[in-house]
Assembly symmetry: C2
Homo-oligomer: 321 residues x 2
């Protein structure tokens, strides 16, 4: 099934689905698989240096001729240089996260780059619409990685009320019925992160994928809250130690974080690695190919909407009779 929205049109994609920007996890291989399957793949630049990003962009161009995005987080001290690379390499879409990208929007738009931004609050969304972003990704606090404090259900109700640009829902979405629900709220696309970890094309260590499969809906925890940068991760010996350390010795806790994503991604190290994932991990039970995942999600979206229509039409008939 296809659902055309302003988002599929804007981004020139078949399915209104975006791969969330994930540091380490969002490799060219995974992003290309997502784009080739009809959604929007995203290179997660995390704390990358500019020349590494250039390599990754060249790599994905070898793997797909479909649109793809680069996610840039404003926390990265190289953010400005990364943007230069993105412009030089003619990346079609930039997705900003973790911070306020307002100063950069105009320049990118002038270069014909589509600009999306991930927000966790309505106030930032309103400001970014004013400076010209093409769409807003509202991300609820059930998502993996860096989080705000408002849930997806609340944030999307609010954003579809106050914005004119299309809204993309993120955080907690791992089933087709959730995608249907987000459309009912007025969203015109969805962004998924954790669901893409559980794919064959994801290059994360097997332990990472296993952690996602085994997790229940209550098996994530928020670390870093006391350090001022809360992030949702799967409960592990590392996350437990982090929570203790945050209270007792914030400086050591900050040190523990250095390299912790890499250790989870490359080595599946549960004692020193930080396994970022959303609460939706509790809904994922199977590793699939990216193509199969997207097909299954779209089929369930279709079925959920049809079921709703049937139930609703039946009610209308009863009411008329």
């Amino acid at each position: 099934m296809k659902i055309n929205t302003r988002i599929t049109k804007l981004l020139n994609i078949k399915y209104p689905v975006i791969e969330g920007g994930m540091a380490w996890v969002g490799t060219p291989k995974l992003a290309a698989a997502v784009s080739n399957a009809g959604a929007l793949g995203t290179i997660g630049s995390g704390n990358m240096e500019p020349e590494i990003l250039r390599e990754k962009i060249r790599e994905i161009k070898e793997l797909t001729d479909k649109p793809f995005a680069v996610n840039i987080i404003m926390l990265n001290p190289h953010a400005e240089e990364l943007l230069e690379v993105v412009i030089e390499e003619r990346v079609p879409i930039v997705i900003f996260g973790a911070g306020n990208p307002a100063p950069f929007v105009k320049e990118l738009k002038a270069k014909n780059i589509k600009v999306l931004a991930v927000v966790s609050s309505d106030s930032l969304a309103i400001r970014l619409e004013r400076v010209g972003v093409d769409a807003i990704i509202g991300e609820g606090m059930e998502c993996g990685g860096h989080i705000g404090d408002v849930t997806t259900l609340i944030l999307i109700q609010r954003l579809t009320d106050v914005l004119n640009v299309p809204v993309i829902a993120a955080g907690g979405i791992a089933t087709g019925r959730a995608i249907a629900a987000m459309f009912a709220l007025g969203a015109e696309g969805v962004q998924l992160g954790t669901a893409f970890i559980a794919t064959h094309e994801c290059e994360a260590h097997d332990n990472y994928k296993k952690k996602v499969l085994k997790a229940g809906i209550r098996d994530t925890v928020i670390t870093g809250g006391k350090l001022g940068h809360p992030a949702r991760v799967i409960k592990t010996p590392f996350s437990k130690k982090m929570l203790e350390m945050e209270s007792n010795s914030p400086e050591e806790a900050e040190e523990m974080l250095v390299g912790s994503l890499k250790k989870a991604f490359l080595h599946g190290d549960v004692s020193q690695g930080s396994f970022m994932a959303g609460q939706s991990a509790g809904l994922i039970r199977e590793i699939k190919s990216v193509e199969q995942l997207l097909k299954d999600l779209m089929k369930e979206t279709h079925d959920s909407i049809e079921k709703l229509i049937k139930r609703f039409e039946l009610q209308e008939k009863i009411a008329e009779a």
Copy 2:
């Protein structure tokens, strides 16, 4: 519009909407208004003593001949005596909250009382289905008052997957598009709390209602987390003091809580009162009558589903062409 589900049938109500159990706020007057308008009104028994509850039940029976519920929280030391009152007074529906009511389900069912339970986890829901509850209310952590750690979007996706009894969605619902979204997820009813505070029939102090109207989506905070009983409240001088006290002097913090709901409800006291409310307060801008609120919610639900149908049918036609 009417949407008939297993919930409207089970509870014998016109709209698949339940008033959430709210201590102090859930008075016979408000609950009767909700029931008279076609939804299910609920007396929130909170920490009530048994003979007070008996009075309240007799009061609501004077005000409505429609079905109503009594909410009983397992934290109340009088819970067992309250149940005796409920049986003696032939209350048609009991809704359990805040704890595991498994031991009492059979007895109530034997007396022909419908039994619903509010849960914040899938594990408790599965256990309660086994002991025979008629429906499960899944309440996400965006809700007001006592909260769990999973969001509504996650919890409802999970519950509709693992349960056979009907699922009612609670937490963060204050618009018709959110109700439509919950139906898309497979829920068969919704429970609203905060939305009913902003009604003429609600007997809370004006300051309480004003706090709800003025709140943005980020204007609630979780107090009591360090005391082991987290509750979502509107940010006030009291909530700020509570958070400091929890860290510095848990015993004093516990003392501060005594009577704090009453002080918010009766006196609108922002320095000593605890204004429980969900993140949905940020979506509420107007005081309405209960009847108007329900009509508006149902109309928006209808419109959201119709919009989704139109968009979807258009896509199907394009696909066929």
